[in-house]
Amino acid sequence: MHIISRRRFLKQSACTLLTSSAVMNTLFHLKGIGSALAANCGPIPDYKSLVCVFMRGGNDTHNWLAPVSGANRTHYDDGRGVLALPSAGLLSLAPLTYSDGSTYGLNPVLSSLKPLFDSGALAMVANVGTLVVPTTKTLYTANGVPLPAQLFSHSDQQIQWQSSLPDQSFTTGWGGRMADLLVAANNDLGAQISISMTLAGLNNYQVGVATAPYAVSTAGSIPLSGYGTAYANALNGDGSYKTNNQGARLRAFRDLMAMGNPNLMQGAYASVVNRAYDADQLLTAALTGITVATAFPPSLLGGQLGMVAKLIAAREHLCQKRQIFFVVLDGFDTHDNQAATHDALLADLNSSLAAFYTATVELGVQNQVTTFGASDFSRTLTPNKSDPTTAGSDHAWGTHMFVMGGAVKGGDIYGQVPSLQVNGPDDVNTTSGRGRYIPTTSVDEYAATLAKWFGVTGPDLATVFPNLSRFPNPDLGFML
């Protein structure tokens, strides 16, 4: 593939630093506005897309990947209490290589993901979490190593999962840093819309130095209303304003956004509106005629992944060799009523992810699209209420994540499932513990494995993941 040199990235960054007021203008390499004709770059060799499914609130993955038998099943039964899933109902997994003496199964709600695991299109990565350096219980207990700031706090852990820099204040996300490096490949093709697109609003993951996400809705983008279809009531064919009320109004609207504003927030607002105007026309044109036959569930996640599938299908019109997507399923902060809430969320994940994989097969890009999970943290093994209906769990740390796609070496569990013994060797506490497990795999290792597949290699990996060298496994091996 086209290797983007580090030098180029640095040059790009330097320019950005010198002209910070122009940062946002570099997000879209607009060659002209008003063009309603879709570009078509034709087949794009070495196309790849990376889809982040952020499970906001802290997914209780003890009930995603639960022990079926063995020592961890005993620990699970001892600790999980009213939240325990019966072993009989779990969808038992037969990992290709993973073995720790216990066996594991998926939550029965994940019935459509089980076949993907079995067929090798889905892998689990066990006990991933934010780490500053490799951390053992001994080191944790002795305050022997720096720890991520504000462990167990939603807002901070979300940011750290998305920045992969738990020992720094936030500046950029790892998706954004990848985008900074890889955007040149899109620019070379003439792409005009950001390499990073979000179906879930603004986020930290996609913030780069020179790139930022373009936010679209599950319906794609929208135009300004009141000006007719494709602004036909306000614009002439050549893009000039019509001499009528709508033409005057649209001209004024656009001029207000173009007049330049000394106030920085005014400028930022105008930038968003200008992007909305320009990118909508490009996106609308690119999506025209694009259909994806696969049916997506009419759910929170299904709608987002359905539009992601369309944006992937439109890649040749968007001229994008790389696409970085961000979708969110919210509601995982199950301090109470976990049983029903969590099952409903997992049901959405189950059906939406399976549909998305099917859609990538339909589009013939299943080997070029990788979907991965991320979340604030997992939750305490022990429950916080005795009533099985109202019981929930609290914030914890290491969490099990899924990776899905044809390029995934699926059918296996990577990393190390911790001992689920409360107050045991992996619990942060020795007494009065809740089953908060110290991650055995860092977000850096997990993310770098994905980034490497995505085309970030060599010294660029250290640019995207400055802390990676602190950890033993820069490539966890779950990607082909």
Binding site: S225, M257, M265, Y269, V272, R275, N384, K385
Partner: protein
């Protein structure tokens, strides 16, 4: 090869005949130049150029014989000879001679000098005297000692030479794999070359055990054996005897066969911070050797092996003579080797765009280092060897830094010579707080500026300007109006709960009155949302409700939670609780929020139980965490002005609490459950009831009545002692809660701890300022408001009325010129844009509030006030009342839009929802109201939810532009723009925007179904609401 026999007569025994010492021929000498002399011997004695048959020192032994004997051919005192020969009582004779190690000595005896008898034993040389005693067996006897070489390992080199040359005489391959003869031949053949090796390239004044940590150079010889003296030059900054122990003589002396000479550098510790200093040793040319290319080596002399960074810190303040409330701080970490520093600078609030940033010298103002624009994270400042900015060396730069002479200066277009600056000081273990300077009071405004000030104030203190409110505040003055608003006699608190209860009853009654009444009709929670819109548009207690709105974005609950949604009377009461406390005491507010059933459901505190070892159930930690993180003290320690307290050793923020503090506080929040039960609440419209009998609840597990019997949700929780954890607890701030207190006592202690925590005043102050006035208050602004929290002037802490007053009357809120600063202001929330629109244009529906009177509702609004029945149908707002996505609200208070806003260090919370799609949704909400859905010639309006028995047109919320029309009629387009500029943008529309809007209005004409005036009014409102001057409230 053998040396010839030569006698060295030094002594003749007088009594017993000749005593002869006879060097025997030499064996196994290496003689590569075939001159008959041992090459090792030749190099050892510097005898390379001597001829074998010559007795160079005239001692009687020629050079070849001296070679055999291992003696010095150039020293007449050195030859193979007797040290002593003594007769022993004439029965024996003792001979003693100086031996050479590696040589072998054979004593012989003769009576005739012809026949010699070997005398046992043969003796090996020792480098000391050997002696042998010959018995007197004949009257005439001669004795002699033959010296010979020996080659013990038969490698072709005699032992004497091997020992001198550094080989093992008992091993043919001293270095396995290379025969000694080969090795020695190479040494003898190769030219002598000297090089310098660096074995320990770094020396420390203090190593890890606080001792000098030496560096080490080594001079290494290859080729040749002879002794060499080589001069070397010592250069570099370290001074011998000052920086390191005197060990460098300038001459390296390698003895014969010596191949290595160590030159250690032992530093002398001092208390001066020094840049890395290099000591360079360079061998000089000399005789008998050549120099390798590596003829020099360097040792880096450092202060401290621990390599710990040293922290310098500075707050940033306005430069002298600069009018700016910008602030920030810088950290500078001097690297462990003192060769560089990493500089981070965080700042915000510049009045004008930044132009540059530098490190300067305090004495000369010279630039020492240029920094990048924007926030600076870990800029590496490497001290140039030759200095910079008037400093001629790196050490001089370091000295200036250590002397606290380095300052960072942020330059802006308004202040090219610097807007804010700070002088880096070594922290020495503490960072002191200094209070910000007092603010300049705002000018006393008159006329147009007074009106503008009032209009700005109204934008900050209400749900939107109306002509009536403007007149009111102009009349009363800001302070007088605040007095009125905080006086419940003059301005009663408008409560939501009565409206919601009555409205539910009313819509059910309306349904039941219809001929086609639905048998499944339910009001759900819409009445709450209707009540909120109706209140925000009509309420007279605007300030109270506006502050309640601000509080609702701090103490967040959301109807996206099913309990909060379905128990909407409780949620109405929650709002009323916030409003009731809006000018009350924060301590009361905090406890009221904590014990409110809606919050207790939203953050799962209700019915929490103490730890149960049997079931493994632990107290829920949700509320314990969020009350600290979001409602009171925050994550990190703050100064009284809201700036971060930093650890004085690592420069990092200090956490206010850890997870143990959370699990401990969670124990406090156990045992709390509902205090009331209620009957009724049947969902069928024909069995409708939301006012069943309310009685005390005595069951911990009671989960509230049927859906509309919600008394449990609008009465504070109560304590159920059996479920409360009574063990002692230690919570944040090391506050100890003794064992066996009641649950109420525990709660009091915990609430007091959070209320009195040093973070709370600034934490709450900053959040409230962000909600009401500006996203980036200066530290001075935060400090002044926090001080009002600490003490309202009468010694009371936590008086929110005083806090609100301090926020709204602060110079930073009131001074008009402050609004022109590049970072000032806040993005208007979509909800507040909507309430503003509705209020500014007197929105009405055709469903009066008074229809609720039969349900017992006392209309608190104007008699003709109408219901604003927006439900979940205000598409495009992206924000609905009490509908934040999580307890973190719609945005984080420190969200910073990437790009210039972020680079300037500005927070822009509302931008977190300002996506491209959302911005167009909002714009389209207005165009939809005015054009695509306005129903013809009317100005515009919004669809709203119908109660049974009403039609869409009656429910529709229409705008009234009578006053706007008057402005247009009397003043033309210019008059229209003036009017809206006062009503909507407090006269802040820029001249450029004014031209753009005016041009559009001038080009606007009548269209079928709508007059020119209407089109102009709609276009004007549309453009105003979308203009950057409006969207960013300044």
């Amino acid at each position: 090869m053998f040396g010839s026999h030569t006698f060295c007569f030094s002594r003749v025994a007088p009594l017993l005949g000749a005593l002869i010492l006879l060097p025997l021929s030499s064996a196994h000498a290496v003689d590569l130049d075939a001159d008959g002399m041992d090459d090792v011997w030749q190099q050892y004695f510097g005898a390379e150029d001597l001829a074998p048959g010559v007795d160079s020192d005239g001692d009687g032994a020629d050079n070849a014989r001296e070679s055999t004997a291992g003696t010095d051919p150039l020293d007449s005192a050195s030859c193979f000879r007797l040290a002593d020969a003594q007769p022993v009582n004439y029965t024996a004779t003792t001979l003693r001679w100086l031996s050479e190690i590696g040589k072998r000595y054979l004593p012989q005896i003769s009576t005739n000098l012809l026949a010699w008898l070997d005398w046992e034993p043969v003796l090996d040389g020792t480098d000391g005297d050997l002696e042998v005693v010959f018995p007197q067996t004949n009257a005439l006897q001669f004795f002699r000692i033959q010296v010979s070489d020996v080659d013990s390992d038969a490698d072709g080199i005699n032992d004497w030479a091997e020992l001198l040359a550094g080989f093992n005489p008992n091993q043919a391959e001293t270095s396995t794999g290379t025969p000694d003869l080969v090795a020695l031949s190479a040494i003898l053949t190769n030219p002598t070359t000297l090089r310098v090796e660096v074995l320990q390239g770094t020396a420390y004044e203090r190593n890890l055990t606080n001792q000098p940590g030496p560096g080490l150079l080594r001079i290494v010889r290859t080729g040749g054996l002879r002794a060499i003296t080589a001069p070397y030059a010592v250069a570099g900054r370290p001074v011998q005897g000052v920086d390191y122990v005197e060990t460098f003589s300038g001459q390296a002396t390698l003895a014969f066969g010596q191949n290595e000479l160590d030159l250690p550098l032992t530093p002398i510790a001092d208390d001066v911070l020094e840049v890395p200093e290099y000591l360079n040793v360079t061998l000089q040319p000399g005789t008998n050797y050549a120099l390798a290319s590596t003829n020099s080596g360097a040792i880096r002399l450092l202060d401290d092996e621990s390599g710990e960074e040293i922290l310098f810190y500075t707050p940033l303040e306005a430069d002298a003579g600069v009018v700016s409330s910008a602030s920030g701080y810088g950290t500078l970490f001097l690297s462990g080797d003192h060769a560089s520093a990493r500089v981070s600078v965080t700042f915000s609030g510049l009045v004008a765009p930044q132009t540059s940033a530098h490190l300067h010298d305090h004495n000369t103002s010279a630039i020492m280092e240029s920094l990048e624009l924007g926030q600076i994270l870990n800029h590496i400042w490497t001290f140039p060897t030759n200095g910079t900015g008037g400093f001629t060396s790196d050490q001089a730069l370091l000295d200036a830094l250590v002397a606290n002479e380095v300052y960072v200066n942020i330059h802006s277009t308004n202040y090219p010579s610097g807007e804010i600056e700070g002088l880096f000081q070594r922290t020495e273990g503490s960072i002191n707080f200094t209070a910000p300077p007092p603010a300049t009071p705002p000018p006393a405004y008159t006329n147009a500026q007074l009106a503008q000030d009032v209009q700005r104030f109204i934008a900050q203190a209400s749900f939107g300007q109306t002509d009536a409110l403007f007149t009111n505040v102009m009349t009363r003055g800001l302070s007088g109006w605040l007095d009125d608003q905080m006086n419940t006699n003059l301005t009663p608190h408008t409560t939501l709960l009565p409206f919601v209860l009555s409205a539910d009853n009313w819509v059910v009654a309306q349904n039941n009155a219809q001929t086609n009444a639905s048998s499944t009709f339910q009001p759900f929670f819409q009445s709450l949302i209707h009540g909120w819109w109706t209140m925000s548009v009509h309420a007279q207690d605007q300030l109270r409700q506006r502050v309640a709105f601000a509080l609702s974005e701090i103490f967040v609950v959301s109807v996206n939670n099913s309990t909060v949604r379905n128990r909407h009377y409780g949620t109405a009461d929650y709002w009323d609780t916030l409003a009731r406390n809006a000018f009350g005491n924060f301590r009361t507010l905090l406890e009221d929020v904590t014990l409110h059933p809606i919050m207790a459901n939203y953050l799962s505190m209700v019915q929490n139980e103490k730890y149960n070892a049997t079931t493994g159930v632990s107290p829920d930690e949700n509320y314990a965490r969020e009350i600290m993180q979001l409602f009171s003290i925050g994550l990190v320690e703050l100064h009284p002005d809201g700036t971060l307290r930093l650890d004085a050793t690592n420069g990092l923020p200090l956490s206010t609490y850890d997870n143990t503090d959370i699990t401990e506080l969670a124990k406090v929040f156990t045992g709390w459950a509902y205090s009331k039960t209620q009957t009724g609440g049947l969902a069928s419209p024909t069995n409708w009831s939301n006012n069943g009998a309310i009685t005390d609840n005595n069951s911990f597990g009671y989960r509230g009545g049927a859906q509309y019997a919600q008394a449990a949700y609008y009465h504070p929780l109560k304590m159920f002692a059996p479920q409360h954890e009574t063990a002692a607890k230690t919570i944040v701030g090391d506050v100890h809660i003794p064992a066996n207190q009641t649950g109420d006592q525990d709660l009091d202690t915990a609430m007091d701890a959070l209320f009195n925590h040093p973070n709370t005043p600034a934490f709450i102050a900053r959040r409230l300022i962000q909600r009401l006035v500006t996203s980036n208050p200066s530290r001075g602004y935060v400090y002044r408001v926090a001080q009002a929290f600490v003490n309202d002037g009468t010694g009371v802490r936590g008086n929110l009325g005083a806090v609100v007053r301090a926020i709204l009357l602060d110079p930073e809120a009131r001074t008009l010129s402050v609004a022109s600063q590049v970072g000032y202001g806040k993005m208007r929330e979509p909800l507040l844009e909507m309430t503003h629109l509705l209020r500014a244009f007197s929105a009405t529906s055709s469903i009066p509030v008074s229809v609720l009177a039969p349900q017992g509702y006392t209309n608190p609004y104007a008699a003709n006030a109408s219901q604003i029945r927006f439900g979940n149908a205000v598409g495009g707002l992206g924000q609905l009342p009490l509908n934040a996505p999580s307890v973190f609200n719609w945005w984080h208070p420190d969200y910073s839009a990437p790009g210039p806003v972020s680079a300037a260090g500005l927070d822009s919370p509302e931008f977190e929802i300002a996506t491209e799609t959302q911005m167009f949704n909002l714009a389209n909400l207005f165009s939809g109201a005015f054009w695509t859905g306005n129903g013809g010639n009317t100005i515009g309006g919004f669809a709203a939810e119908l109660p049974p028995g009403y039609n869409a047109l009656q429910a529709r919320v229409a705008l009234n532009t009578t006053a706007t029309q008057s402005a247009l009629t009397s003043g033309g387009v210019s008059g229209l723009v003036d009017y809206l500029n006062g009503l909507l943008t407090h006269q802040s529309l820029s001249s450029g925007a004014r031209t753009i809007v005016t041009n559009a209005l001038n080009a606007t004409i009548a269209i079928p179904g709508s007059t020119q005036d209407n089109e102009r009014i709609k276009t004007a409102i549309y453009l105003f609401f979308n203009s950057p001057d409006y969207v960013i409230q300044r």
